[in-house]
């Protein structure tokens, strides 16, 4: 049995607002998302938003998501976070928007650790970057906390604030890490 296995890849052949992984197996120790994305919004760099689900139902839309981050955009550094939100905002990778060259896609890697353990809230660690060469290029390191001990069986990745769209060519792969 391989330690790292690809569970599913979603490649957008057309613009779409949402990428969703459902019926995630409970047989791995950790999950890892690798995302290459671009959004149809007049911005150089823009975040993805993430929601989780458990128990076979829809993703949680309550204000149960918290995230903290360190980031740099252009020559400016920042840090903070921690507000209760209806999705992980600053954890989701920062990707490219319409204000940079059409060939530019931002990328991110998100570890969701011990996701099937019902004794723990779900937590995550992520690093992402986008818009290299642009005025507002981003690099971000972030943490996420979902205040729910349910085993994660669904992940939804939406364009920024659930009000934008991923463009064709955006791709996300969900990996499972065995122990």
């Amino acid at each position: 049995m391989a330690v790292i296995e690809a569970i599913e890849t979603v490649y957008l052949e057309a613009d779409a607002a949402l990428i969703e992984f459902t019926s995630i197996p409970q047989t791995y120790e950790h999950l890892q998302l690798r995302i290459s994305a671009r959004q149809a919004k007049a911005s150089e760099s823009i975040e993805c938003t993430i929601r989780l689900g458990t128990g076979g139902g829809a993703v949680d839309t309550g204000n149960n998501y918290y995230s903290h981050r360190i980031n740099g955009w252009g020559t400016t550094e920042n840090s903070g976070g921690g507000n209760a939100l209806a999705y992980w905002k600053r954890l989701g990778p920062i990707v490219s928007g319409e204000s940079v060259d059409a060939a530019q896609y931002g990328s991110g890697v998100i570890d969701i650790v011990d996701y099937a353990n019902t004794n723990k809230n779900t937590t995550a660690l992520a690093i992402s970057g986008s818009a290299l060469g642009a005025t507002y290029s981003w690099i971000q390191f972030g943490s996420g906390l979902w205040d729910n001990t349910g085993a994660v069986d669904r992940i939804a990745i939406a364009a920024a604030d659930y009000s934008n769209t991923f463009v064709r060519g955006t791709e996300a792969t969900l990996y499972g890490l065995n122990s």
Binding site: H68, L125, S143, L145
Partner: protein, 179 residues
């Protein structure tokens, strides 16, 4: 041959554990690199986040140094620790943090078995907590140095506050083989 192999997986049982340690790590070329992925919570009371104390080969002399980039408020900060008796560049939730919340820790130790060079260590971690309050959370990355040429055959992770790892904390050590 698979690139990744699980060397050890440990879940802390009831009562907690003062440390996680793996000894007898092969140094004969079986693997080229080591990676640790952990989901950790500390039992130390009166604090929101604990700090790592990481040592190799049981060595506790002043042969460790690290450079840290972290945030627990705005702005982010960096610092350097030289000639220490352990590596200190990672953090995870402690007893005062949000209940049932465990931090994410990834440790990367490249070329760990060589006997010519000092060993470098890259860590990323999250002291997650549902809060916007200054200093009650900490996330960050670090670059560490173990200034010994001896191959690494054991690794130990303890609380910097001499507390226990909480029940359900998990540690997975992977060996990674090149081509």
């Amino acid at each position: 041959m698979a690139a990744f192999t699980v060397i050890d997986h440990t879940e802390v049982s009831s009562g907690g554990a003062a440390y996680w340690e793996e000894t007898g790590i092969p140094t004969d070329g079986t693997y080229d690199h080591l990676m640790i992925k952990a989901s950790i919570r500390s039992e130390v009371t009166g604090i929101y986040w604990d700090i790592i104390q990481m040592r190799f080969n049981g060595v506790s002399t002043s042969v460790y140094s690290d450079t840290l980039l972290y945030a627990q408020t705005y702005p982010p900060a960096s610092s350097r620790n030289g000639a220490r008796s352990d590596l200190t560049g990672a953090w995870w939730p402690a007893d005062d943090a949000t209940a049932d919340t465990f931090g994410c820790l990834t440790v990367w130790i490249p070329n760990y078995a060589n006997s010519s060079n000092y060993k470098s260590v890259i860590m990323s971690s999250t002291g997650a907590h549902a809060t916007t309050s200054t200093d009650n959370w900490r996330i960050g990355v670090s670059a560490g140095l173990y200034a010994q040429t001896t191959a690494i055959s054991s690794v130990e992770i303890k609380s910097g506050y001499a507390g226990n790892h909480a029940e359900f904390s998990t540690f997975t050590l992977y060996g990674i083989k090149g081509a």
